[in-house]
Symmetry: C2
Subunit: 350 residues, 2 copies
């Protein structure tokens, strides 16, 4: 080999949002797989399950009964990782043992009363209702002046640690800004200070010009595989307009966001014709700690599947100890996702 | 609740090696688990498997035949993520698309000719042979002046992405220093500049005084659950002597290291009476880039199991998007591991 090719030679790419590198080994996708094969998730669920704590009319762990809700529904997590009522504490022994309190409020959002659906199977109107509820909850949580960050996310599929297949997401809000958001704040701040434009606005323009990694776009949002993606089919949804959080989206933008989520998650399901697992969530400006003009709202999707509906990418030894690593290139993943239909494969079976 | 308790109230702890925080939610271990249950790994393997590319006398992917080896055995990975012969490349488009070549050499080390054993089941002498081989390979790879870092690691168990149960580990060496090592270098450098002692030497002294998180110690090494552990039963092996890499260990220290690995992995197997999965690896000074007096050799063990041999901790939505999070406290994990026998449970069945 004499000239370097991004699609064949091993290389590193910089994640401009975190400042961390990812190792890309394109030639390695030819490696045979004799390792773990996942069970296919059971896709035949009833519309209502009497044992599900998210179905309408059922009782939850704390004894409360869910209302007979018809769209989405939100409540405080019965097993919250963070609690509002936590005493103040801060310790530092010789800079070696350092700890402090963390207060927070954790919520669960059911996306639909129907136990057997997932986001891509909901109607555009139903997904828009979820997006509207995210905005409403974000605003309400931000009203607590001690809350500094609000993480909206979804774990989909049991291989992503989801313990209930009823379509739902979570919101964890807390009294300090979490690590990943700190990293992205710093990088965006630096860029904004120099260019007076948001990092992602400039990145988005470049991606739209190149058109190599763009998967889908509508009036207000672009779905793409970032140049520095770690997970095989990792994507980002980026708003065309530079806004710091979901609070600033107009109703037209909120519907447009719902559309981009519907199209992306449908393409995901179509890729291996299965209910495609992922963890996804929004990144946005911290709250109650002054201006964050540098922040540009976006949403990350981290899906683990690599080769098929049952073979995932393992982030293990080298990845945990040394550096994130991927095999297929982001460009290859983007081309595949772009080519897939926006019509759900299940709706085509007759 | 009026006074704060580390073992009941949610809080954050600082990883002094990376500068990153971990969220600890001790109260949350009471949460019921209805999620994914892993298959138990098949523990009944033959001593020799004709289809295994690591067994003595078998042919590998490239056609080469393994010798009839009797201790450990090393060879170049047939599906290396990094290659020696990679053209030079470096690109930077507006600080938005940034990439560069990565060259490297990847090796595989079989720990034993016997297909059905794992590290804790090898004799002290056999583990010492593995440790000696690590040192030898480290020295040989460091002889290539373009190699800047050498990552020695093991993925154990199929839930840690291990595709062959034959006991083995890997070495990935490369032309740039990987992310996690950069973080640890920076923190150790800062500490060393101020105190003229290594960060881990001072940390180790404090841990030995407190004796709350120490799992095991012998003449030259201490096994402990770090104050900032992320994985439920995460541990570190730290050398009592401040040395920058495995190259500086005496033969007495190498045997002592083998002993601490044997005891720790035996305790792990005894915890849930199963072949305990983990990713483990050494962190040591970068090579061929000048002095690294700040570096203090250590080894991390990242095991995923949380509640039993089939229920693991999932690092998913909140963890990937926001912050590392754990439920049981490091102190609880350390007490459990400390109390366990150093005699393998299988050797007690008669
Ligand atoms: O090299 P192996 O054992 O085939 O592969 C395993 O370890 C690698 C290094 O941690 C990972 O990149 C792979 O995802 C994992 O399956
Ligand atoms: O809150 P859940 O759905 O019970 O739990 C799931 O999501 C959490 C947040 O990412 C993780 O900490 C858990 O490991 C995972 O199983």
């Amino acid at each position: 080999s004499t000239t370097f090719e991004l699609d064949t030679n091993p290389h590193r790419r910089l994640n401009i949002l975190t400042g961390e590198w990812v190792l890309v080994s394109p030639h390695r996708s030819k490696r045979p797989w004799q390792g773990k094969v996942e069970d296919l998730a059971n896709d035949n669920r009833p519309e209502y399950d009497e044992k599900c704590y998210l179905c309408p009319g059922n009782a939850r762990a704390d004894g409360e009964v869910n209302p007979a809700y018809t769209e989405s529904f939100v409540f405080k997590n019965d097993f919250s990782a963070l609690l509002e009522d936590t005493p103040i504490y801060s310790a530092n022994e010789d800079d070696l043992l350092v700890a402090n309190t963390q207060r927070g409020i954790c919520k669960v959002i059911s996306f639909s009363p129907k136990h057997n659906l997932t986001l891509p199977e909901l109607s555009l109107q139903e997904i828009t209702a979820v997006v509207n509820l995210w905005k409403k909850e974000y605003a309400a949580l931000a009203d607590n002046d001690w809350i500094k960050y609000i993480q909206i996310f979804e774990n989909k599929g049991d291989i992503m640690g989801c313990s209930n297949p009823h379509p739902h997401g979570q919101i964890w809000s807390q009294s300090d800004v979490p690590m990943e958001v700190c990293k992205e704040t710093e990088r965006q701040k630096n860029y904004f200070a120099i260019h007076r434009r948001s990092l992602l606005a400039d990145y988005l323009n470049l991606e739209l010009q190149k058109d190599e990694r763009v998967v889908y776009k509508n009036e207000h949002f672009v779905v793409l595989v970032p140049f520095w993606a770690i997970w095989p089919y990792e994507t980002m949804i980026i708003s065309k307009r530079h806004v710091t959080s979901i609070l600033h989206f107009t109703q037209a933008e909120l519907s447009s966001l719902a559309d981009s989520i519907k199209v992306l998650t449908t393409k995901y399901d179509n890729l291996f014709e299965c209910s495609f697992p992922y963890s996804a969530g929004m990144h946005q400006a911290p709250v109650n700690e002054g201006e964050h003009n540098e922040w540009h709202w976006h949403m990350h999707f981290y899906p683990p599947l690599l080769r098929s509906s049952t073979v995932k990418k393992f982030m293990v030894g080298y990845e945990l100890l040394a550096n994130a690593q991927r095999d297929i290139t982001p460009e290859f993943a983007a081309q595949q996702l772009k080519a897939l239909s926006a019509q759900h494969y299940k709706s085509l079976i007759f």
